[in-house]
């Protein structure tokens, strides 16, 4: 069977897997942002905690993804929560690190000017640090998203669905067309997200910095 016939005959299955895949990636990145962004802001303020916390997330990052899924199954059983937790763990580092470097990279004289003019810490964070760090933060989110879309193919091993299902089925049945029908959407998703987020990144770069 050629590739296009496969696409047509397995359309429903592929579509479901595609949506599952987007769901997994999207939720993982969203929760990743919800955790890593505030943490990044906090460790930029209390810098003595920065090293150890970034180190911990970096260690998670070095665990091979298949192994991480493997670890989690005995603890959490199978299903999408397990897959989500693994994906969130991978999404943390890029967002955390970029938030931290983005904020700490803001020119000291600008912060001093803000303090000297009587801005509170929160005002400095909201009106100066975050706007100036935003391009970095967005770049971190973009990296995390592309990474997550790729790793989410492994969700199939914990029974959480996604395009990995299609690829895995194809591999088991030596059906290359089916493998491709799973892999190609993953690549397209990754590229698509990358482009969209790159566009947002550009949009969020403060106008005064684009000169």
């Amino acid at each position: 069977m050629n590739f296009f016939d496969t696409l047509v005959s397995r359309q429903d299955m592929i579509q479901t897997a595609f949506l599952e895949h987007i769901y997994l990636s999207f939720v993982a990145v969203a929760i990743g942002i919800a955790i890593a962004l505030p943490t990044g802001i906090l460790i930029a303020r209390y810098r003595r905690f920065a090293e150890p916390i970034i180190a911990v997330t970096a260690i998670f990052q070095t665990i091979p993804s298949l192994a991480l899924f493997g670890f989690l199954v005995p603890l959490l059983g199978i299903g999408s929560p397990t897959a989500l937790i693994a994906l969130i763990i991978y999404a943390l580092l890029p967002i955390l690190r970029n938030t931290y470097t983005g904020i700490t990279g803001v020119d000291g004289s600008v912060i001093e000017a803000g303090r000297g003019m009587g801005m509170t810490r929160t005002q400095i964070l909201r009106q100066i640090e975050l706007p100036l760090a935003l391009p970095f933060i967005m770049a971190g989110i973009r990296t995390a998203t592309v990474l997550t879309v790729g790793i989410a193919t492994l969700a199939t091993f914990v029974g959480a669905g996604g395009l990995g299902d299609i690829i895995y089925r194809g591999l088991q049945s030596y059906n290359n067309s089916l493998v491709l029908a799973g892999a190609l959407p993953v690549a397209l998703l990754a590229i698509g997200f990358d482009l969209i987020l790159k566009w947002i990144e550009k949009r969020t770069t403060p106008k005064g910095l684009k000169l």
Binding site: D107, S109, V110, E112, A113, G114, R115, G116, M117, G118, M119, T120, Q123, I128, P131, L132, P206, K207, G208, L209, L211
Partner: protein, 322 residues
């Protein structure tokens, strides 16, 4: 009035930036702090708005110890031009300049007209520059915006850390003159850090000479120039500049008419134009008046205060005479 009492600052790494500094910045006057790089000028200045805290000693503003004052509130009432300019790159010039008025909750129209006025005063055309971003301005223009931003909230105390250092000599002189004129009308308490003795002599009511975290001498420009406290101050003023003063001190007032004011202010002590500059300093001091009325003809007078006499004493042969 800002008063330092036995203020010592030791940084965590052991650097002692200030050693038992006691001094007063009088109200409504411009005090210049001058000294070599690293002598503690910036540190001293930052103590006033609590950006640095003393390890010992206390600072009083109008006799209230500043440890009792809430720092955010204190800073909003003190204009601050930082040494490295520090404009917010993501905000337009207008947004930069409006920041303190906004923090103070001023109505929009009041802020806008204030900024407009200050821009014009510092030689920046509001229509051209208000909507630009800092990176679209030259270094000198950015420094002017730094000054506008510091003055925007109409503070009573203004701290200026080498505010004109990035300017070319011509706009620098121009801004010095403008600051001087501005000060005459607004009468704020200004603390002005500089490296440049000519700048200090030109604009300051009082000069504080510092070295290695300590004050070497405090005095009016004339006192510093006429009576350097020690060799360090002497060498810092520049031997050349002191010598320049001598021969001209012996020239008569009538040779410097162009440097003097044509209009008098209230009570002035009348003297003859044949007085030497040096004598004029003495007469002025003894008279207790702020100005001398220098008689040139039957009913023609020019007027000179300490500042104008100083200009005469410093004037070079070329150009500056009429």
């Amino acid at each position: 009035m800002i008063r330092f009492e036995g203020v010592t600052k030791q940084f965590p790494d052991g650097t002692e930036a200030l050693k038992k500094v006691s001094l007063t910045f009088p109200s409504h006057q411009l005090t210049a702090i001058i000294g070599p790089s690293g002598c503690g000028k910036t540190t001293l200045m930052k103590m006033v708005n609590k950006l640095e805290k003393p390890t010992q000693g206390e600072i009083y503003i109008d006799e209230k110890p500043i440890t009792d004052l809430e720092e955010v509130e204190l800073r909003r009432k003190i204009g601050y031009v930082i040494q490295r300019i520090g404009l917010f790159p993501h905000m337009t010039i207008k947004e930069n300049a409006s920041l303190v008025p906004k923090l103070l909750g001023w109505p929009k129209e009041k802020t806008a007209s204030r900024i407009q006025e200050l821009m014009e005063l510092t030689g920046l055309d509001p229509d051209t520059y208000l909507e630009r971003y800092p990176l679209e301005l030259s270094g000198g223009q950015q420094q002017r915006v730094g000054v506008v931003r510091a003055l925007a909230g109409d503070p009573n105390i203004i701290l200026m850390d080498e505010p004109f250092s990035a300017l070319d000599p011509i706009s620098r002189e121009q801004l010095q003159d403008e600051l001087r004129n501005l000060q005459q009308t607004i009468q704020k308490t200004i603390v002005f850090v500089t490296h440049d003795m000519d700048e200090a002599l030109k604009i300051a009511d009082t000069i504080v000479v510092m070295r290695k975290g300590q004050v070497e001498q405090i005095g009016s420009p004339a006192e510093i120039l006429g009576n350097p406290a020690n060799d360090f101050v002497r060498s810092f003023i520049g031997v050349e500049r002191i010598q320049r003063q001598r021969p001209f001190g012996d020239k008569s007032l009538s040779e410097f008419i162009g440097l003097f004011k044509t209009e008098g202010t209230g009570s002035a002590h009348e003297v003859s134009g044949s007085l030497t500059v040096k004598e004029a300093f003495e007469v002025l001091e003894q008279s207790g008046q702020t100005h001398l009325a220098i008689r040139l003809g039957e009913s023609r007078h020019v007027y000179a205060g300490e500042r104008e006499l100083l200009k005469a004493a410093l004037a070079k042969e070329e150009g500056e005479l009429v």
